[in-house]
């Protein structure tokens, strides 16, 4: 129904406009109105998706055609604590402007960041009681121009709210990362990149739901050893050591 209405609307626009202009101008006009969708390769410059910033993981960069879209909004759907922050840290480390973390599910550990060579002065935390205030704060930070990234732990995001975040990110040349878990709401949000992270024994399974200006991708797995090089993997001896830790105590 909606598509039909859209077609009628486009048809009307075209009809009125074709009286005034010839065909060549018409395509320009439609492109200008953002009514024509083109593939990545031959899209005009104005429609080109924003540039990409490396994620810091080579495999993921290749998978995402260069990295995180910047400026843009990244929707990251995962359970808390599967390594989603670790996935973002190399990107945050490479930025010289602020990173604001809004409503993190637990205390962000400055000690951990310090041991990963991040300067904690560039991290601000914001906690709010109302969800609407979190969105407000994210928008202000994104468009201020002093933040390079905003990590927003937020459950319910409406389409218009995501749109606002995207516009603010473009104004302030920044990236907004929406961290959500148990996503139940249907419908796609107007975000630049949407990913689903599911941990497995081999590593972090990354499913790209949407990548603006890109083709559909197969799932990929980022090995734990890449994500956590410090944790010496015991994958070969996984069978044995299960709680209680009698063996480890006696060892």
């Amino acid at each position: 129904m909606i598509i039909l209405a859209l077609l009628v609307m486009i048809y009307n626009t075209v009809y009125i406009y074709s009286k005034v202009c010839d065909m060549a101008n018409l395509i320009d006009f439609l492109q200008h109105q953002n009514l024509v969708w083109q593939g990545t390769d031959n899209a005009p410059l104005s429609q080109c998706v924003s540039e990409k910033h490396s994620t810091g993981y080579e495999a993921l960069d290749n998978h995402l055609d260069g990295g995180f879209p910047f400026p843009g909004v990244v929707d990251m759907q995962s359970e808390t604590g599967v390594g989603e922050l670790q996935l973002l840290l190399p990107f945050i480390r490479s930025q010289t402007r602020l990173c604001v973390m809004i409503n993190p599910p637990a205390n962000v550990n400055a000690h951990a960041l310090m041991h990963q060579n991040m300067s904690t002065e560039l991290i601000w935390g914001v906690t709010t009681s109302k969800p609407i205030e979190a969105l407000w704060a994210a928008e202000q930070c994104l468009k201020s121009g002093v933040c390079s990234s905003v990590l927003l732990w937020h459950q319910e995001v409406q389409i218009h709210q995501a749109k606002r975040l995207l516009l603010s990110a473009q104004t302030g040349q920044s990236m907004c990362c929406l961290l959500r878990h148990n996503v139940v709401q249907g419908g796609a949000l107007p975000v630049s990149l949407s990913m689903q992270l599911v941990p497995s024994s081999a590593g972090l399974n990354i499913k790209v739901n949407k990548l603006k200006g890109g083709w559909a991708k197969p799932n990929m797995t980022l090995a734990w050893s890449l994500l956590w090089p410090q944790i010496v993997s015991h994958s070969e001896s996984l069978q044995g050591q299960v709680l209680p830790f009698k063996q480890s105590v006696s060892r």
């Binding site: 922050l85 205390n107 962000v108 951990a112 300067s119 991290i123 202000q140 497995s200 105590v249």
Partner: protein
């Protein structure tokens, strides 16, 4: 150098008369020796005189109003007068207890002549309802003596002023009794006679103090005075025309106050980093809101934006009757030294963003994180003030990096699930000095959902989750 001295003989009485100018005989009595110090005209008519005892004065009339003399009130009033006159003349010295010494010569370049200057000063004093005596003089002391003797004439003629000064008796000089007596003994009864003796001769017979005094009186010796500096406080109040229950309507009157603040600050080339907004509500205690702006600001519009954010989360308990704005801390504008060539995005600064977030969400809602030198994980990472400036690049630490989880739970949770240990143990046993000692073996563990947890076992072999490698 020309000086003007204003002598206020009855500041406290003037203050009373302003409130109520009915002519009840009123006297002000010194608390120390019960002497009449100030009296109004009707008391004078009854026969009360200055210097009379309280007993004698009250015997004149039963309806005499008696007040105790308060020096602190006069001091305060004198300061107010100085502040008031400061709008027209720059160099004012508070000559305690009840006089103002004004340096005139520097101000004359702004006026056509002395008469014009005096007219303006006089117009200012009229509105204050105070009695005063005045005189000009070519030394501070000369002006003071003439004013205290009630000279009250607009005159800057050197000769005439000197003659008038010469007529004064020695007793009117501010000398000790011993010095007055000494002078009387050698037959010097007037200032004229005193001036007749050269300073060198005077120095032979009298002490240094007297020579200094006479030298200053004649203007031959330097007389250092300290000039009044008005305090930098901005305090304005608006009484609303009608009571407000909705804070949205406060914006207009508030903007007027902020506009005044803007002018005040701009004239002084200052910024302020915090303003206090006092909301006077009916029948209850006024509500005081402090609004901060981390980088200092003077523009009314910017302050209004911040005020709006704060007011939006403020609840009125009673109708609003008046609003006051008070600012007493000022800061100098700071030049931002930023990289000229790096691209600048937006118009906002870090401090600007911080003040906006804090105004809307509350001061403690925005925080930075910081490491502290403590081995206990819960104390090693603390909240701090958000950093406003980019940190200087620190040299990389040479210590081996420790493995720590990105997220630490606020409350340590008991471990209930089955997990697989990946790495460990790392023993942390410390904190014996402040009673909060811990002895824990930390492990990295993986639970069934393949999350990497930071778990520990305490001395009693109980297992807990402390953080998660998020």
């Amino acid at each position: 150098m020309l000086w003007l001295y204003l002598h206020f003989p009855q500041l406290q009485l003037d203050g009373l008369l302003v409130q109520d100018d009915q002519l009840v005989p009123t006297i002000i009595v010194s608390g120390r020796n019960n002497m009449v110090m100030q009296l109004n005209a009707s008391a004078h008519k009854l026969g009360v005189k200055r210097g009379m005892g309280l007993g004698a004065a009250s015997s004149m009339s039963a309806s005499l109003n008696v007040y105790e003399f308060k020096a602190s009130y006069e001091q305060k009033r004198l300061l107010e007068l100085a502040q008031w006159l400061y709008l027209d003349t720059a160099e004012i010295h508070l000559s305690k207890p009840c006089g103002l010494l004004i340096k005139v010569s520097n101000m004359l370049s702004l006026h056509t002549d002395l008469a014009h200057y005096w007219r303006i000063i006089k117009a200012r004093l009229v509105t204050q309802n105070v009695q005063y005596h005045f005189s000009f003089g070519y030394s501070p002391l000369a002006a003071q003596l003439l004013a205290q003797s009630g000279f009250n004439r607009l005159c800057d003629d050197r000769v005439q002023l000197a003659t008038e000064l010469g007529k004064l008796p020695i007793s009117s000089l501010l000398l000790s009794e011993r010095q007055t007596l000494q002078l009387n003994r050698v037959g010097i009864h007037t200032v004229q006679a005193l001036f007749g003796i050269p300073l060198v001769e005077l120095g032979r017979r009298f002490d240094n103090e007297l020579v200094q005094y006479v030298g200053r009186l004649q203007g031959k010796l330097h007389h250092p005075v300290e000039f009044y500096q008005p305090p930098e406080v901005f305090e304005r109040e608006i009484t609303l025309l009608y009571e407000l229950e909705n804070l949205d309507y406060l914006i207009k009157p508030l903007f007027k106050l902020l506009k005044q603040l803007e002018v005040f600050l701009r004239l002084r080339d200052k910024l302020t980093s915090s303003i206090a907004l006092v909301l006077m509500q009916r029948d209850i205690e006024p509500l005081c809101l402090t609004i901060g702006c981390a980088h200092g600001e003077y523009r009314a519009q910017k302050w209004l934006d911040l005020c709006q954010l704060v007011l939006a989360r403020t609840q009125l308990l009673a109708p609003l009757q008046a609003v006051a704005l008070k600012v007493d801390k000022f800061c100098e504008p700071q030049a931002h030294s930023e990289d000229l060539f790096s691209e600048r995005i937006g118009t906002m600064t870090r401090a600007g963003l911080l003040s906006m977030l804090q105004a809307k969400l509350g001061e403690e809602s925005v925080f930075g994180i910081q490491t502290t030198p403590d081995a206990r994980p819960e104390y090693a990472s603390v909240r701090s003030e958000p950093a406003l400036h980019a940190a200087p690049a620190k040299p990389p630490e040479h210590t081996a990096p420790l493995l720590r989880p990105n997220l630490l739970f606020n409350e340590i949770q008991p471990l209930n699930d089955k997990v697989i240990l990946l790495q460990g143990p790392e023993r942390i046993s410390t904190g014996w000095w402040d009673g909060d000692d811990i002895e824990r073996d930390y492990f990295v563990a993986q639970d069934r959902q393949f999350r990497q947890l930071w778990v520990f076992r305490d001395r009693q072999k109980r297992w807990f989750i402390h953080g998660v490698f998020s």
